[in-house]
């Protein structure tokens, strides 16, 4: 008697969970994983060895990421925070420009770079281009004291997420240009944190797969950062035509 009842109960419970767990503004990336990942997952489900191997390889990847984003405390102690930040970025194959210097410094294809940057002791960074690097939340700690940073590009960074955006307040007094386009892990919840960057003049938020109604979000961001020019291209607006038009209207009105 009670068995079918509980089964029913469970069934209801599950559907209730499903219903409630998804909120309308949920923002998960829709695309399924590629074929080889799915195959591996399938195998892992059947064989403990494959599961072990997959765990092992993901741990290895994690450790690599940790190492690359380690805190450059030693450099900081001996050369100061600015050199440490520069060294960190160059090691990640990013590009930097020191305050008042015309030239950009960057590593070559093989990751080697000129050590001349050591001459710029106590010169803060003005522009940083970290596009397509693996910088993450922990790594950002190396830039903690860069109070003169004016532009920052994080285009296509796979590890930049909402928590990373939440930590950008460290540049709240100086940052004017920010490029977060093509970052797969950013969602609407993180964009709200950009409110702390009141000096922002330019924001590129194109092609973020994690936000579900980009037209609306762009409008809200414009409301929140009235001084800022927002670029949001690369979205399929077929369903959100109206919003888009509205947005364009707004942008024009501002100009």
């Amino acid at each position: 008697m009670s068995a079918p009842l509980t089964a029913l109960h469970r069934c209801c419970q599950r559907s209730a969970l499903l219903l409630v767990a998804r909120r309308p503004w949920s923002s998960s990336s829709a695309s399924p994983p590629p074929l080889h990942t799915r195959l591996l997952l399938y195998l892992a489900q059947r064989y403990y060895d494959v599961e072990m191997l997959m765990k092992w390889s993901s741990n290895l990847k994690k450790r690599g990421l940790q190492k690359k984003n380690a805190y450059y405390g030693y450099t900081q102690k001996f050369y100061g925070g600015d050199i440490a930040a520069a060294y960190f970025i160059l090691s990640l194959k990013g590009r930097i420009r020191f305050l008042g210097q015309p030239a950009w410094l960057h590593a070559d294809q093989s990751g080697k770079f000129n050590w001349d940057f050591l001459n710029h002791k106590d010169t803060p960074l003005e522009e940083v281009d970290l596009s397509y690097t693996v910088i993450n939340y922990t790594g950002l700690g190396n830039l903690e004291r860069q109070g003169s940073l004016r532009t920052l590009s994080l285009r296509g960074c796979p590890e930049v997420d909402d928590w990373f955006l939440g930590r950008l307040h460290i540049f709240q007094d100086s940052l004017e240009e920010l490029d977060i386009s093509h970052c797969p892990r950013i969602t609407t919840g993180g964009l709200a944190a950009l409110r702390n960057l009141k000096g922002l003049r330019r924001l590129d938020m194109s092609s973020l797969p994690g936000i579900s109604s980009p037209g609306l979000v762009a409008i809200l961001l414009e409301e929140m950062l009235p001084q800022c020019q927002i670029t949001a291209i690369g979205y399929d607006h077929s369903l959100k035509q109206e919003e888009e038009e509205e947005k364009e209207g707004q942008v024009e009105a501002q100009r």
Binding site: H9, A21, S28, H169, R195, S213
Partner: protein, 501 residues
């Protein structure tokens, strides 16, 4: 043909009447096609024989079969640790116990939850906020640790082959506003928070107006604003993530209500030559839902994570019924208190810019989604606590108490519309509104993790870890929460938050 049928009846003594008649009609209508009929018949015969063999094997001694129906959802008869309450705190403890066990399958943990739809659980009825702006260093550290956990949630709670956890965390700071009388408290809290490592900033009314132009700063002399690790998230997702991970690690979920305990009492003599009874729980009585059936579960340790109802659970062990002025006379000071949350719609509201604002009048609000919705609430005065027998919402309360303050602070809210509302129970600690974590001196094997009074959700990851440490290691390892133990209640030394509201 009739010979066949006899054979049929012979080998299938268990065949039911209806099956037999069916068989017969089937035989009649397909008489004309001889060959396929024979084929089907033998197939059928084989299947029936297999069923007979199985039944015979089942009936042999030593098999699990029994003529009585057994409820498959009954909890096991024995477990190492029984966690009462499958809210976020209970499941977090279950996860951490598994995470920290030294050998695989080292501890057998079951979580008993009376209502798997969570229709009344505080977890899913909460506002989902996390902040670091507390005044007690313990609470700040709990928040920092929990934020760290949430940031790396997929390293902790992802399950192979399943979707990663998306907490839908919204990165927006808490904004506390202080009036003249309480500004000094805010300043003190600010320095405690900075010392503990929280990223908080103080704002003057001018700065406040500059940062949040839509606020009316009348009456505000100081504001504190969280820069990082604050915001709100989806409580369901956190609860389900803990549950999914814990179950994948071997925790057993059981649906039923704990209605009693079997315990032994040992009388010991204290230094003052007083007789004190020390209890030890032997088994937990789990009542199955919608039936009279119950199952005693023998266990070594019980964790009381029953949220708002944990006081009732403690009463079952006689806590608070002893003589006055003795330890046994002190009840667990946790009771349900009803709190309302109102969802309002206001297209002209502050939008994406909205922090989790807490006014000195006690009113709070935050954004909900992107469609111009906000949720707001407030704790009633001590003498005006609403009736807790149901979860009905008092709309008058919004009109009279909340809306005026809300509209005063944010003039755009003059034109709001209440679109819905709900109520939930705080697991309210009447003694000092903080969590009670640890063991009771008179009950040898019951651990408490309750009484969080409005911040249990955000602290659940760190609290779960602390309780697991207490159980498996014997003391706190990462965060020292001994000040949140039972001792403060027995010695009447409250650990009060210095709130600005």
């Amino acid at each position: 043909m009739s010979a066949w049928r006899r054979l049929h009846v012979l080998v299938r003594p268990a065949l039911t009447c209806s099956r037999l008649t069916q068989q017969r009609t089937w035989l009649c209508c397909s008489l004309s096609t001889g060959a396929p009929l024979r084929n089907d018949f033998f197939k059928d015969l084989e299947a029936q024989l297999a069923a007979v063999r199985k039944k015979a094997a089942d009936a042999l001694p030593g098999s699990g079969w029994s003529p009585l129906e057994i409820n498959p959802n009954l909890p096991p008869e024995r477990a190492d640790i029984v966690i009462v309450g499958g809210g976020v705190v209970g499941w977090s403890i279950a996860y951490w116990l598994k995470q920290r066990e030294r050998i695989r399958e080292g501890v057998k943990v079951i979580v008993v939850e009376k209502d798997p739809t969570y229709s009344q659980a505080s977890t899913v009825l909460s506002a989902g906020g996390i902040r670091q702006q507390f005044s007690l260093p313990e609470n700040i550290h709990l928040s920092l640790a929990s934020a760290d956990f949430m940031r790396n949630i997929n390293e902790h709670l992802s399950v192979m082959n399943e979707d990663p956890v998306d907490l839908q965390f919204n990165q927006s700071g808490y904004l506390f506003l202080a009036s003249e009388e309480v500004a000094h408290i805010m300043e003190e809290n600010y320095s405690t928070q900075r010392q503990a490592g929280a990223k908080v900033s103080l704002l003057s009314p001018t700065q406040l107006k500059e940062k949040f132009p839509w606020i009316n700063t009348d009456g505000v002399v100081l504001a504190s604003y969280g820069l990082e690790n604050e915001g709100w998230f989806d409580p369901w997702t956190l609860l389900n993530a803990f549950k999914r991970k814990a179950m994948s690690m071997g925790v057993i979920q059981c649906c039923g209500e704990v209605t009693g305990f079997k315990h032994t009492t040992i009388m010991v003599r204290t230094g003052d030559d007083e007789q004190v009874g020390i209890r030890r729980i032997q088994s937990v009585r789990v009542q199955m839902p919608n039936s009279l059936e119950y199952q005693p579960v023998e266990c070594a340790i019980v964790v009381n994570a029953a949220g708002a109802h944990s006081g009732k659970l403690a009463e079952m062990l006689g806590m608070g019924f002893g003589a006055k002025d003795t330890f046994a006379g002190v009840p667990l000071p946790v009771e349900p208190r009803k709190r309302y949350v109102y969802v309002v719609h206001c297209p002209d509201g502050p939008g994406l810019d909205t922090p989790f604002l807490i006014d000195y009048s006690g009113v709070y609000f935050r954004r909900e989604g992107l469609g111009g919705n906000y949720i707001a609430g407030m704790s009633p005065e001590e003498g005006e606590e609403p009736d807790i027998s149901n979860l009905e919402v008092d709309h008058q309360f919004f009109e009279e108490k909340i809306w005026p303050s809300l509209a005063h602070r944010v003039p755009a809210f003059e034109k709001l519309k209440v679109s819905s509302a709900w109520a939930g129970f705080y697991d309210y600690n009447t003694f000092d509104q903080n969590g009670i974590i640890g063991i009771h001196p008179l009950i040898n094997n019951m651990y408490f993790a309750t009484g969080f009074s409005g911040h249990g959700l955000q602290h659940s990851p760190a609290v779960g870890r602390a309780v697991a440490e207490l159980i498996l290691d014997g003391n706190f390892k990462t965060l020292d929460l001994s000040n949140f133990g039972f001792k403060r209640i027995l010695t009447q030394e409250p650990m009060l938050e210095r709130n600005i509201v």
